[in-house]
Symmetry: D3
Subunit: 330 residues, 6 copies
């Protein structure tokens, strides 16, 4: 059984039931989610040994957050409960031509204040096969940027493979640093980068005319890099998307099949499901099959409410193999 | 800030959750809605100064109805709480080939019994830019027909622009008068008429071969008329409609883009959202942009549960500008 | 008013709300359903006199099951409340490429233990016009196989028409008998068989190259047979199916129109709604209209949550006549 | 098995969940209830053969009302579905010092318009052992007063015992008759009267100084009278009541034990549960045991949400026997 | 109609349904509440003209907060929508020996950042009869302390009566000032102080041996002071409290009756209901009746879920007059 | 940190919301619970290292059961997912004089079929400080009786302290053995027995006149025994109980304070909370404090919905110290 470590903030997710708007709701469905922990949860559901690194406040809601990670199969023993608030994100599910909307309320969270020295990195990475991070974490605070760098350096020491989802978000990076102050160093320590052209541009503060140019640059500039992975999404409406993905190796490129997602239940976390599928795939399959498995994981997540892909290995494999007709399983 | 007055009944709306049928439900979702107040609520959400004229029973459910209007930004100070019952409409949401169903239970309501003399029309219309009525009100009772006429006459005195949604409904008009006994006089006092061929036929008790004929007749017969507005809807199923709209001026005609509404959440109130969009558009934009804005408002309402369009100006404007791809807004 | 008797197990149906997975749910929606009782409920909703034969445990949940049948218009006076558990089926609703999932937990139920001698068959079939059974019942236990045979023999004695939905399920037949040990005798006593090629193969333990071959064999081997009825479903995804049906008489064949079911609410029980429609149709219409009515009943059921078709005669007839545009009925 | 007929209006009951006020609720729990049908439902739950006489509108909500009666074991075959609305009552559950509140909206209901000649009284009362009515029915409309009288006269012809719960309500009697115009004739045809001093005063338009005076008058004036039954309730708060009851025969008087109801779940329908218990008791027990059984039924109803006593014979008998300690039954 | 202005933060209130703990909940009931706005809402429900001063974020949840105030009858026209987050408080309802628990998450809110100069104080206090503040506001930030002082000074200029609920909370006052740096100046501008001994001690940084000592000191030190009001609560358990209150004038003292609150639904906001009752009472009644009315308002609030007293004038007056037996009102 | 192992079945718990009866419910709240795992969950919530031994079916509901244990802090790595069904218990919450009701449906569960040899007992008990079992397990099946004995023998080998809650239930023991065939051997291996007189009688098939007699017998017959613990409950009604407990050592006896539980939320699992408190107490406190802590844990559980005590160490300690007044904690 492979051991995977994921690193990042987990927030309280509050969303009105169904397609209600914030203005009209009288209750919030409660979930806990965060990009990297979502990746970890997908892997844990498939039987991997997953530990997540974050921090929670030391009150009942912080305990509930840890409990939910455990329910999802994640080892929470390395998560400190410290002072600071619980980060929150409010999510309103769109429909048709109306967009989904996220209001972040994560400033001053327990995780944003976490210092790298508070964690026992040797214990955390002991026996690990893989470490996953995303570009959201270094964008939160200097502490979080330091935390990511420490984790990646330790991973290098221990020979742990590293994947990173660049995931550039313009409304973060509020603490005085620009992405290109911090991201290049992290990318140098990463073996699998999930990103599109825009992410590369922002993280490196360079301009690229095409993804081909990005790809050539990346394999040259980052010699440790094994794969670049890019997803493509056509958003016809909030309810209907088309997605596919491509894995770029140094020599070979593999594209997944394309999925018509015609009745989307929950788009949030679909990139994380894809990320989880990718790590699983690269650990257990040939690249060609890995990207197919990853995209199937990302696709089927659109049918599951919440942040987390709760689909079995068998379900994802069947979809990757082209079966998605939705017959009742009895 | 523009001031708009709307006039009409507001009912308690009771609907089974989700796609349940009346026969099987064990709870009703509670909303309050009525065509003209829905128009007003859309305008209030966009920052207009809106007062609604209706009547409610003087008990806690009547107070709740007024409270809900206030929540939606509507000035309720002119609404009397009187004897009479709360009008009710039961709504069952259809899906696919199964139609939505409405059971009206509005006879004997507080509003149906309201006499025009009970209202301080001068105070109500003081400083108003626009008055909106619909053909539902005069169809309820002689009192309501009188109320509408009084309002329109007062509006004329004060130079207030008037829009009317003819909205002919065959199951109303139970109080001994036919539409053509009452509607022509109201249409003479209206500057913007929202209606299709059938509405004109019923309200004027005449036959027309085409909408072109209707249009020519209308501008001739009603010299005060500025615009006729017509919406077109193709109902593929309860879940999937195509809609568009056209604004006929005396000289020019403008058609909106057409919308594919592929995953309808709630069709009720979409005409009212269109009406609100039309009034906002005509008050703030050129006719060409107004009809585009109005249709975008009507289209996006299909994604919002309840009677009321709860979409910001920005959301409607983006859709009117051709953006409706449903990307998550963070 | 026609009198129809249906025979079969009714289970407690437990399903997570909306599109939740079992893993994440915190509540179950409670329904009661079973193939043959679902057929009966459709017929009762249309005003037929329907009695259902099953057994329930003698505790409050068993009483609730009987109560629910009564609510649906079914005569429950012949249902014994005996020892044994309540059969359960857990249902998770799929969406898009994710399949719906059923976990059966029906072993040892009160019905599985029911002996034919416990029932007063003369009273049950007194005045009956029709008896309906399905291949699920003889697959449950020897008692249930005996029960079915007894019922069919009694029906023959009394000249009651019999329909049977072969409904072969590989995960049943656990009590030591194979389908072909039992089913042929039951098919000999049945006038209307609902089945596809695979059902015939399994029930008769023969191989057939085409449905035409099946059809020819069946009318030859089973001289009492009036009709074979086959439904065809293309499952594009859990949310989107295409269905149609064909009625094969000895001489003539009639096919229904085909339905695009683009936003499926609940697929469970759609075959039973079809079965109910078929019985109603054959009792009241020409074969050509009967298959059209039956398919409309099956199609519209996809829009109703739960096991039961809760659509009026008028709704089904309108759909069978080609009206399915989903306009709001006021 | 005894056969009982009950007569009266059944309304849609709409109540906010928990202790919410009407002003704040966003959903209503849906039940169907009415005093006399509640009596019938209690008796049906105990295995009696119960038919209820009322009328419902001929739409899906009216069908649902009939379905709910059937679920509760009541024979609905004599209930016509006619024009007229569904009567509604809105119920807000109080707590502590805050009272529960009922808003009636029952004018113009299908039942209020029902004429006695529309019913086949011979079929209805065929084989009946008991008929139950209440003072609510003749207070609704002249039709309803006539209906009650017809029922009682037919019962006398057929030798059916009659009970009546006088249940005087000052906000009814709006159709031009006073109680004493109508009630005396009905009381003359009744063998068991449930009433307190105030009910007798209002129904007979007389003044009485004490219940002893009432009792003496009643047995003298109404020679057919077997029993007068009176309940006593001390309402400490909405959550906490003390109740007891007394049965007055011509010669003997029996009082039930007194119950402390310290955590009331739902007070509505407790008098009807008592009435059901009384009929059951008088049909199956000695008077002394009957009043004890009736009061136990009334008491335990306070623990059941909704209008209906859903407690088994065994539960009521145990409580009547002095067991009410609330140990978990496994 | 009296005009009242209230000033203070309004937070999003998130609470698990029923008696669930934070650790186990999967949804939050959504309300908006804050001590001073709760006072205002009680007054508005009784028909007073109430304006509330606060600030909200300029996003949909901030709009919803304002909408909810409007629903409760509060004039929100003076509330700016600015940057900053929505303050949140998480509330877990206790039961019996388990305490209710509040987790505050209000740092950095839009209101905490509001500067006094942003508001048009003349418009706000135009025609006002009363201004109400609480000790929570100056404890939040220097801005909020300044805001309170400004409001009170303006009130003095305009001759507006002022009430203040000292409401000392040790977990606030985090911005570098102690209560006695700020509170004395505010108390000097207040005519009615609601407080207990501990509040006086903390706000004045003095020690007092008894409330008598407090009272004598207060009337001497604060010559403008009309009344001191103190509530007394014995908390037997989360579900059962005894409360009473006393109004101390310069010469006379009046105590309310005492209430046994035996089945508490929601304790939050009961002090605010009392405050609202006190203001109403002092504006409309003699002191003796005012304190009785205020305590009745505070008592009955324990039966209403949410922050807000939603009880009519009549309900409160009846309870103040000694009627609280909880009979059903029909 | 102490390590505790618990052993026993975990069932799916299905209960109607609030005080609904099974007959009327339309949804079930879903929990997972079982006596011994409940004990473990309480200990895990207080930071102990707890592993639970049971078996679950290998489908999504079985995975959810394991997930829920993990959420509650329990190590599930030793739990096999095997064939067999998920045991179910249906729970209806009583109120006042109406009892709560449990319908068990646990025959044929995955756990009942589990053989001792399938488990790695050395790994399970490695480093354990305590093992807890109950009399429910050996009552389920021969496999389960063997499993318990194996566990206790292994514990003895490894010097692990053992507690057992005899918990005699007459409706179990269906597999051909009587309690006294099996229980004595298990009691001989147990250091802390939780039981009342009736449990001892049934497990040893002896008669005892008093608990003093039981106590003397037990310390004599079971020399390894450290403590006998007995709880006393007076059930005034389903809503109101009085409880206390006593710890009998060989020499000394300590009684806890007595608790009035006046508004019971959920009685289920209160004995398990007590058991968890007892183990925690005996591991960390003096006997006198341990029994006080245990009873506080048992008492406060009555306020928490579900099977599990979700109260912090601090909450329980405060209650044990006499603080239970239910003030709001902010």
């Amino acid at each position: 059984m492979k051991k995977i470590v994921t690193l990042g903030e987990v927030m309280l997710r509050l969303s009105p039931p169904g397609n209600q708007r914030f203005f009209q709701t009288h209750s919030f469905d409660v979930e806990f989610g965060g990009s990297e922990a979502n990746v970890g949860a997908a892997l844990a559901y498939w039987g991997m040994d997953v530990a997540h690194i974050t921090a929670f406040p030391d009150h009942e809601i912080g305990w509930a957050a840890a409990g939910q990670l455990r329910k999802n199969g994640i080892d929470t023993r390395f998560i400190p409960h410290v002072s600071g608030r619980m980060g929150v994100y409010y999510l309103e599910q769109g429909a048709m031509q109306r967009s989904s909307q996220v209001i972040y309320d994560r400033a001053g969270s327990a995780f944003a204040n976490l210092e790298p020295s508070k964690l026992d990195w040797d214990a955390i990475l002991e026996g690990a096969d893989w470490l996953h991070w995303s570009g959201i974490t270094p964008a939160l605070s200097q502490n979080c940027a330091d935390l990511t760098l420490t984790a990646l350096q330790k991973a290098k020491e221990k020979g742990v493979k590293v994947s990173g989802d660049l995931n550039y978000r313009s409304n973060l990076w509020q603490f005085g640093k620009a992405p290109h102050d911090i991201m290049p160093k992290l990318m140098e320590l990463t073996h699998v980068i999930i990103a599109g052209t825009r992410d590369f541009k922002q993280c490196l503060n360079e301009d690229y005319k095409s993804f081909t140019e990005v790809r050539n640059m990346a394999f040259e500039r980052f010699p440790q890099l094994d794969y670049i992975v890019k997803t493509d999404r056509i958003s016809h409406s909030s309810s209907n998307n088309t997605i596919s993905a491509t894995l770029f190796g140094k020599k070979k490129t593999f594209s997944s099949r394309s999925y018509e997602l015609t009745h989307i239940v929950d788009r949030v976390g679909t990139g994380d499901a894809f990320g989880g599928g990718l790590i699983y795939g690269l650990l257990h399959m040939k690249p060609k099959d890995a990207i197919e498995f990853a995209m199937a994981a990302g696709a089927i997540k659109h049918s599951v409410p919440g942040d987390i892909l709760l689909c079995s290995l068998q379900e994802v494999k069947e979809l990757a193999a082209g079966e998605g007709g939705g017959k009742i399983k009895r």
